[in-house]
């Protein structure tokens, strides 16, 4: 098993696979930051008494000035566009990763840890240290096409490991903190009812399936066990085979269920970005004929990576 893991970890991958991940993750970062411009406006005017720094922001003793915060916004926008197109990626990749870490830290430094920014931050840090611009980039315009190499494969494996281990950690937290009440479904019912009540009290629409779920005790126990199991055993998806074929739709269903019952949505995971390192994502290029010489390809193939 260790040898199999070793072969998997150090397998070659085409440069295009890592490049497509660079494009997808940098593109997500750009859209995410633009969509969160309101958060920058909000945090530019918060009072010192509300500041509880975490992560990289722990070096601060008070909130930064609006000028500094908007400078971080500008750096994020410019570096995410540069990383997206692979312009000076050896500089812009690390700048993007560091700026995103700084922003995520600052964003969570107001009494509420926002866990939906953790995985994308970790993926950006790995991407920044990788040769992700050696294909499909401005940096690679004058270069000959790279052969498949472990240099491109290993960072993708690290990103896949980050994705599945974070799911496992979430399940371990539920079992360690919630214990048996998580497994019997009562805690899940209370969380769904709590989330929906909170929305009621904010005058917002309830999650569409909250009442349906809370009114059906028989459903909640199996749903809680299923949810914890899907998270806990996520690392087995690294080994491919039938488990991964089942796990991918199961984890997508898990995110859909939390959205419909609690209006809780982790966009990076829920939109599938976090799952991309488990796929031969360069196959999407076959549609445009960048990688494959196959002709008349009319469908996008997404197959999980075989070990």
């Amino acid at each position: 098993m260790i040898r199999a893991f070793d072969r998997w970890l150090l397998a070659d991958a085409p440069a295009e696979r890592l490049a497509v991940l660079r494009i997808a993750i940098s593109g997500y970062s750009f859209i995410y930051i633009v969509a969160n411009v309101g958060e920058f406006v909000r945090l530019a005017n918060r009072s010192t008494s509300e500041f509880e720094p975490v992560g990289l922001a722990s070096v601060l003793t008070s909130p930064v000035t609006p000028a500094v915060l908007w400078s971080v916004f500008a750096i994020l926008i410019v570096s995410s566009i540069a990383a997206l197109f692979g312009v000076w990626f050896r500089v812009t990749g690390p700048v993007l990763a560091f700026a995103f870490l700084a922003w995520a830290s600052y964003h969570s430094s107001w009494g509420q840890m926002l866990h939906f920014e953790h995985v994308v931050t970790l993926h950006l840090l790995v991407l920044a240290a990788s040769p992700a611009s050696e294909s499909l980039s401005v940096d690679a315009r004058m270069r000959t096409r790279q052969v498949a190499s472990v240099r491109f494969g290993w960072p993708i494996r690290l990103m896949a490991i980050i994705t599945v281990v974070t799911y496992s950690l979430a399940a371990i937290a539920k079992l360690r903190i919630g214990g048996s009440s998580w497994i019997d479904g009562s805690t899940l019912a209370n969380h769904i009812a709590y989330s929906a009540t909170r929305l009621d009290l904010l005058g917002e629409p309830r999650p569409p399936f909250a009442a349906f779920a809370v009114q059906r005790d028989w459903l909640l126990g199996p749903a809680a066990i299923g949810g914890v199991a899907v998270e806990l055993f996520a690392p087995l998806a690294l080994f491919g085979g039938w488990f991964r074929k089942l796990w991918i739709p199961a984890i997508v269903t898990f995110h859909l269920a939390t959205l419909l019952t609690m209006l809780v949505f982790f966009p990076y995971n829920g939109l599938g970005l976090a799952l991309l390192p488990l796929y031969r994502v360069e196959r999407i290029l076959q549609v445009r004929g960048h990688v494959s010489n196959r002709r008349n390809v009319t469908t996008i193939e997404f197959r999980t990576i075989e070990t």
Binding site: V54, L125, V150, R198, L201
Partner: protein, 144 residues
């Protein structure tokens, strides 16, 4: 395989182990952080009885309207709005927060109330009465 390649392979194995150790370290220490976390979202054991800090707008005819996350905290994120109110109550800054929110409400609102409400959240969805207790923490006139 060349010596350099063998060396690089061992560096990668070691770095992978370090990454794994870093990922699980917060869980070992039971200390949440960023970018490394215990991922404790929705992990706590929660009862049906829950306490909420609420912000209500009172209109001239006495009718009451829950204020939105955006009005409360200038963020559309519900977690942020909830955290904003909870933190204010924890620090005893209900009056200041009430005044700040009163400056953001619409014209129809004449007064803002910050309250602590106890709810049976399960009863709310199973046809029962939800509100168990309500304590007004601060009230202030809206800024016209």
């Amino acid at each position: 395989m060349h010596h350099a390649e063998v060396g690089a392979a061992w560096v990668r194995r070691l770095a992978t182990l370090l990454l794994l150790a870093a990922l699980v370290w917060p869980a070992v220490r039971d200390r949440d952080g960023l970018p490394l976390s215990t991922y404790p979202m929705y992990a706590s054991s929660r009862s049906a009885e829950s306490s909420f800090i609420t912000a209500i707008g009172v209109e001239a005819d006495g009718s009451r309207t829950p204020l939105s996350a955006l009005t409360i905290s200038e963020s559309r994120d519900r977690l942020v709005a909830q955290s904003f109110l909870n933190d204010a109550a924890r620090r005893g800054e209900e009056e200041q927060v009430c005044a700040a929110i009163a400056g953001r409400v619409g014209e129809s609102i004449v007064m803002v109330e910050i309250a602590r409400e106890e709810h049976d959240t399960i009863a709310r969805f199973r046809g029962g009465e939800s509100l168990r207790n309500r304590e007004i923490l601060a009230s202030c006139e809206a800024v016209s």
